[in-house]
């Protein structure tokens, strides 16, 4: 499968394709990300309970693979799972992984 272009990955999404942050089944925090850039920002803002909820359900990987179409970021998020991070450690790991990928994509755009 051909990797998606940086412009494609960095595009602004429709409301239907945005990532909605929940803290548990059906409990929506009011935070959403309509692009990878917003996703990077929201990772620093949402409650850690929300990061833990989505991370261990595999929601982040699913969204980066199926919606953003960024196989590289998907692979890196999966790798973070092996460390089994929780709380602020999870936030730091995700922040580092997503921000780094965002910088790479922006520099090659």
């Amino acid at each position: 499968m051909t990797p998606s272009s940086p412009a494609r990955i960095l595009r602004t999404l429709s409301r239907e394709n945005a990532f909605y942050f929940f803290t548990s089944v059906g409990n929506y925090t009011g935070h959403r990300a309509m692009s990878l850039e917003e996703f990077a920002t929201k990772i620093r803002e949402v409650p850690t309970a929300s990061l833990e909820f989505h991370f261990y359900r595999g929601d982040f990987e699913k969204w980066t693979a199926e919606v953003l179409e960024d196989s590289e970021l998907t692979k890196r998020i999966r790798a973070v799972k092996l460390l089994e991070p929780a709380g602020n450690n999870l936030r730091d790991q995700l922040d580092f992984t997503v921000s780094k990928r965002l910088e790479e994509l922006k520099s090659t755009e």
Binding site: R15, E16, Y20, V25, G26, N27, Y28
Partner: protein, 160 residues
């Protein structure tokens, strides 16, 4: 039965018939008539009129889904909305097959209270994440999954 300021005014017999039918809608006109001391044709006429005027909205059955192995997840969802969009959100929710009831409440802020069913928790979450959260004007959502039902009755009306 009279129209009074758009509301339909029922007489004492209409109320008694409604109460009898709410207790058991399967009983015949004759059974209701015998209970109330009126002819079955009177009961028939009154019921037809109440159907025609929309007082009786529909005849339905109450199924015990657990007994037939259908263990649905039922949840009460409270949707906090931008007041400018609340009517549109409520309308969109009303059209979803997963939604059984939609009510609005204005306490400290405008809320839409929704009864929702799904096959399991994954399906429930997927519906809320994909169909409810993206609606224009939805600010946040609180959902309580019903784990045990203690009582569920429809109101038994009484003559005022």
């Amino acid at each position: 039965m009279k129209l009074k300021n758009q509301a339909i005014s029922l007489d004492s017999l209409d109320w008694k018939i409604l109460k009898a039918l709410q207790e058991n809608s399967k009983q015949t006109y004759s059974q209701v008539g015998r209970k109330l001391g009126v002819a079955h044709s009177t009961v028939y006429d009154r019921i037809r009129k109440m159907e025609k005027n929309g007082v009786i909205k529909k005849w339905t059955i109450d199924i015990d889904h657990k007994k037939i192995g259908m263990n649905y997840v039922t949840a009460r969802m409270t949707v906090y909305t931008d007041p400018k969009e609340s009517e549109n959100v409520a309308k969109a929710l009303s059209e979803a097959k997963e939604v059984l009831e939609v009510s609005m409440s204005l306490s400290e802020e405008l809320l839409i209270i929704v009864k929702v069913v799904a096959r399991d928790q994954d399906e429930l979450h997927s519906f809320i994440a994909k169909k409810v959260a993206p609606l224009q004007g939805v600010l946040r959502i609180r959902t309580s999954i019903i784990t045990k039902k203690i009582k569920e009755e429809k109101i038994i009306i009484e003559k005022k």
